[in-house]
Symmetry: C2
Subunit: 236 residues, 2 copies
DNA sequence: CGGTACGTTGAGTCATATCAACCATAGTGG
DNA sequence: CCACTATGGTTGATATGACTCAACGTACCG
């Protein structure tokens, strides 16, 4: 199937299917977004926006996976989060009137809707439930960021890698054979955990020796969730 | 002066002086808060709330300093941020309808106003400028959290310590003799940087040898900002 | 078939954590 | 008033987790 044959998704359908933040909008508001938005498609490796860019709108992910990351001094990426269908990205910059503090790059070919900043601002003004929902979203992300800070500061790389694997299971799920439904390079894994690529490789093969996972290239099969939980030290 | 002699501060005055988030409220709204809020005082070491608590309102700091932190597995604190006059804390839990993901403890004796959650929620409904302002605040904090994640993941302890010192200068300022206007234990410093107490002590005395700082117990005198900037690798 | 990106492994190094001992200070209670 | 205790600060010795560097294997791609 060619990409260009895909019809532009309707937000109301999208909102219902994904339970996204649009579910509190009125019929008219959804129609307005449908009218104003721009449908875009990106392939693996493409950039949606870069750190430092002034952003004129935000993206709602319809399909695919995007990584959101910051670039450190020596050019090393730190992955902050992933965006998947139903998620929105770049809303932080739009709302705080700051330039983008992250970059966004496609991990799996994706279809997104680009919604102009003015729409977002006007919705906040006109629909307080929607504003509240956005606040919930931002505050929830803030809580996750705080947890992550504590983890990176206090846990070992081994513990964090186990935790990240479980987090990926939670966010992207497993297929019928228990393969993780997202495939990342070793370097990308390292850039989430906050370590060197070689360390991830070594630890993964340790996990393999301990029959916690099975490795087939980028495909990771999860064999022992309990074991990983034990290593990661999460009881929540 | 005894604490109990201090009059309850008025929010309108507070808002004007500190430029806090209340500046977008109407006369009536400020009056309502003044009527509904509860004035509280705490001494160093006291706890405002603990991780896991369900919180029934948020705090606006009138004077003093509060540390907001998470507790790791072995009981080690990770300080997330400090709250000073004009700042609000615990709003995250109130807005996201989640239990507190942090604890708050007094660093310097403080006076705070406790504002019931319903007030915050109703203001969001009735005053969209205020909602927008809260969104800006949350999104801004999110950006800072992201930066911090990248720092902890990529920088050395030495770089981070220098950076934290500069951040404290920025947030709390220096007195006429260039002494940092906040005094923390070595352990607290370590719990911001995300390292061991002993490491902070050793690095601080290195900084002292390099005439970047001067140490008088908990009082830290900043002698060479440029030098610290160089070490910390921040150009922003 | 060479090139490029990714994955893997080994060896050496270093920053940082850990453990232990010790000192200073202040508050407490008998 | 003094021993007692707790808390915080400092220093040294030692251990080690994790990074770096380097070499090499593998696979895909034009």
């Amino acid at each position: 199937m060619k990409l260009q044959e895909i019809p532009v998704p309707f937000c109301d359908k999208c909102a219902l299917e994904t339970g996204a933040i649009f579910r509190f909008l009125s019929r008219d508001e959804v129609d307005m977004i449908n009218f104003e938005k721009e449908f875009r498609q990106f392939k693996r490796g493409e950039i949606l926006y870069n750190e430092g860019n002034r952003i004129s709108g935000f993206y709602c992910i319809h399909s695919g996976i995007i990584k959101v990351f910051k670039t450190g001094l020596d050019g090393k990426e730190q992955i902050i989060r992933f965006a998947k269908p139903g998620d929105i990205i770049a809303y932080r910059s739009v709302l705080s009137s700051e330039v983008a503090c992250t970059s966004a790059k496609v991990i799996e070919d994706c279809q997104v809707c680009f919604i102009p900043a003015e729409i977002l601002i006007s919705l906040i003004k006109s629909n307080s439930s929607y504003a509240h929902e956005l606040l919930k979203l931002a505050c929830h992300e803030l809580g996750e960021a705080n947890s992550f800070i504590t983890d990176i500061a206090q846990k070992t790389v081994r513990e964090r890698l186990a935790e990240i694997l479980l987090l990926l299971v939670h966010d992207f799920g497993l297929d019928e054979q228990n393969y993780l439904q997202i495939s990342l390079t070793r370097e990308e894994l390292a850039n989430i955990v906050g370590t060197a690529t070689e360390s991830v490789i070594r630890l993964l093969s340790e996990f393999k020796s301990d029959t916690l996972v099975e490795l087939n290239g980028r495909k990771i099969r999860i064999l022992d969730m309990k074991g990983l939980e034990k290593i990661s030290n999460v009881f929540n």
